[in-house]
């Protein structure tokens, strides 16, 4: 059986819920998973390189060639990760609109003024028996103003940055919660800062800093498509988040490497509050736990009602040492209610 799943993508102003259906988060960087029997299996591509075609429509300020160039740069950025073996292959330009289910992964502009907060969107076809991604289509909403200028342009969204985020979804990555936002008086949230390209809310138009992957993005891609030779070099940490002895579901667990200053995060996604953060460089870490309160919970979890956001930011009482090729487990991070 092949089922269609749709994820709504990067939002301009608000963290938008993406409809995940049976897709639910599994450990780590919120990879997408599908339930097979009583197991949750990560969605991933099995046929690599992933072939893609690019639409031949440009928009004001971005020609079709420039679209292809920006998309190509974003694919190369993901490919350049030495810890991940994901590869892509450009299979040509198409004038056909993306057709879900035709097996051709298409990226291009689509005019969707009705989606007034969605800059881009990724939708998948998956094999629900195996979790294999068979096709993923990405559209960039031409209702917005776009730019491919090397230094960015005021009031125009950077196409390469948004493509990098959407291609992260295409890989099977969900959203990262490493970011801080503030409520806007007129409603919605404004990003103050982000520590991952996969943060669900985009930087302000004109900003181009999301053209570079952050450690959390890299860890996510490396976890899904590990480079076999380098796998033994990284380690993991796992444990549970508790409040008054009970499990905390949906807590955001950030690992901070004291030597490299890298931030890599995961969520407590198991019923006992269990979490795992993997693909970590060996080293000494600080573990910080926070509620998901910088974007809507639906940006991260399909079963939002289970997510506990009523606790204060806390730190694990010890420094955590992550060995290469191994893991540190049974950390219990105790949080207290607000």
């Amino acid at each position: 059986m092949i089922a269609r799943k749709t994820l709504r993508g990067l939002a301009a102003w608000l963290a938008l819920a993406y409809t995940v259906g049976v897709v639910s988060p599994v450990e780590g960087y919120l990879k997408f998973g599908t339930r097979i029997g009583d197991r949750i299996v990560s969605l991933r591509w099995n046929r690599i390189p992933v072939r893609y075609v690019v639409g031949d429509l440009g928009v004001v300020g971005v020609s079709a060639d420039q679209l292809q160039g920006a998309v190509d740069r974003a694919f190369r950025t993901w490919e350049a990760l030495e810890t991940s073996d994901i590869r892509f292959e450009f299979a040509g330009v198409t004038s056909a609109a993306a057709v879900q289910g035709d097996g051709v992964s298409t990226l291009g502009f689509t005019n969707r003024p009705d989606l007034d907060r969605v800059l881009g969107q990724t939708s998948f076809f998956i094999d629900t028996r195996s979790g294999e991604i068979l096709e993923a289509d990405i559209f960039f909403n031409s209702a917005f103003q776009w730019s491919v200028a090397p230094g960015g342009e005021p009031d125009r969204f950077d196409l390469e940055s948004v493509a990098l985020h959407e291609i992260g979804h295409l890989l099977g990555l969900g959203h990262s919660a490493i970011g801080e936002t503030e409520l806007r008086p007129e409603g919605g949230r404004r990003v103050l800062a982000a520590g991952a390209v996969m943060f669900p809310i985009a930087f302000t138009a004109g900003n181009i800093s999301a053209r570079e992957l952050k450690p959390d993005d890299m860890a996510g891609a490396s976890d899904l498509y590990p480079n076999g030779a380098l796998r033994g070099r990284t380690g993991s940490m796992s444990g549970r988040v508790t409040k008054n002895g009970g499990a905390v579901f949906g807590a955001h667990v950030i690992a901070f490497n004291l030597q490299t200053a890298a931030l890599v995060a995961g969520f407590s996604v198991e019923s006992d509050g269990g979490f795992t953060v993997g693909s970590l460089d060996p080293g000494v870490y600080i573990v910080r736990v926070e509620p998901i309160d910088d974007a809507s919970v639906e940006s991260f979890f399909s079963d939002a009602a289970r997510v506990d956001v009523d606790f204060l930011v806390s730190y694990y009482e010890r420094l955590v040492i992550v060995p290469g090729g191994g893991g540190t487990d049974r950390l219990e991070v105790k949080v207290t209610g607000k």
């Binding site: 982000a194 901070f256 040492i321 060995p323």
Partner: protein, 235 residues
């Protein structure tokens, strides 16, 4: 540590008793024994690993990406007691080579402050390590500077060590190197030529050490001071 302190205290008492007998013998300037063993208890100074901020990329319309501090950290290894055992072999002319094994149990503490969501709260996170040090040094006894009727004998030493750091969860086994240089004094309570036990006394020393690698969140070589006091026996 209290148990170890008591042990050192009892060594000292034994030594002082031996010293009185040495005095009674009216020993003159002692010649260093061929083989000398010593045990000491000391303190290795703390090490600051420095400050590090957890930063995010700040949002802004411009091309420059400012950083946004999520929280601030400051990490140090605290001062800790160190127990050492040494074996020295005299080479003549006041020179000796010495091997040593030391163990100390420093705790590493990171202070987290200025968290964007808990700005008023300071968090202290720690981890205790066991550090094993296998050391080789060259000692030069400064005979010309002997004092107290020849009983006090200053020396300088320098050498290197191989370090093994193990955390309490045995998750981390890091190795490192260190180089040290220092100076000290031996005070002989007993010095005689015709017996199996040829010398006994107190030894006090201080040193500076440069450590590279090992448990080192800061990533660069760093310096620390230390001092130790103990007893020695010459054969």
């Amino acid at each position: 540590m209290n148990g170890r302190l008591a042990l050192v205290a009892s060594w000292l008492i034994v030594c002082l008793a031996a010293g009185r007998s040495a005095q009674a013998q009216g020993a003159g300037a002692p010649a260093p024994a061929r083989v000398e063993v010593s045990a000491s208890f000391g303190v290795d100074g703390g090490t600051k690993f420095g400050d590090r901020d957890a930063t995010l990329t700040a949002n802004g319309a411009g091309r420059t990406a400012d950083s946004f501090v999520l929280f601030h950290t400051s990490t140090q290894m605290r001062r800790a007691g160190v127990v050492s055992g040494r074996l020295a072999i005299a080479l003549g002319r006041g020179l000796a080579v010495e091997g040593a094994m030391s163990l100390n149990r420093p705790s590493v503490v990171t202070t987290v402050q200025s968290d964007v969501e808990r700005s008023g709260t300071t968090f202290m996170l720690d981890q205790r390590l066991s550090r094993y040090s296998f050391e080789g040094s060259v000692l030069l006894h400064l005979r010309a500077l002997r004092f107290a009727g020849g009983r006090g004998l200053p020396f300088v030493d320098a050498g290197g060590a191989y370090l093994r750091d193990v955390d309490d969860g045995h998750a981390l086994i890091e190795s490192g190197r260190s180089f040290h240089a220092g100076a000290g004094v031996k005070y002989y309570f007993l010095a005689r030529r015709d017996r199996f036990l040829k010398a006994a006394g107190l030894r006090v020393q201080g040193r500076m050490e440069m450590i590279s690698r090992g448990f080192n969140p800061a990533g660069k070589a760093r310096r620390r001071g230390g001092g130790a006091a103990g007893v020695f026996f010459g054969f």
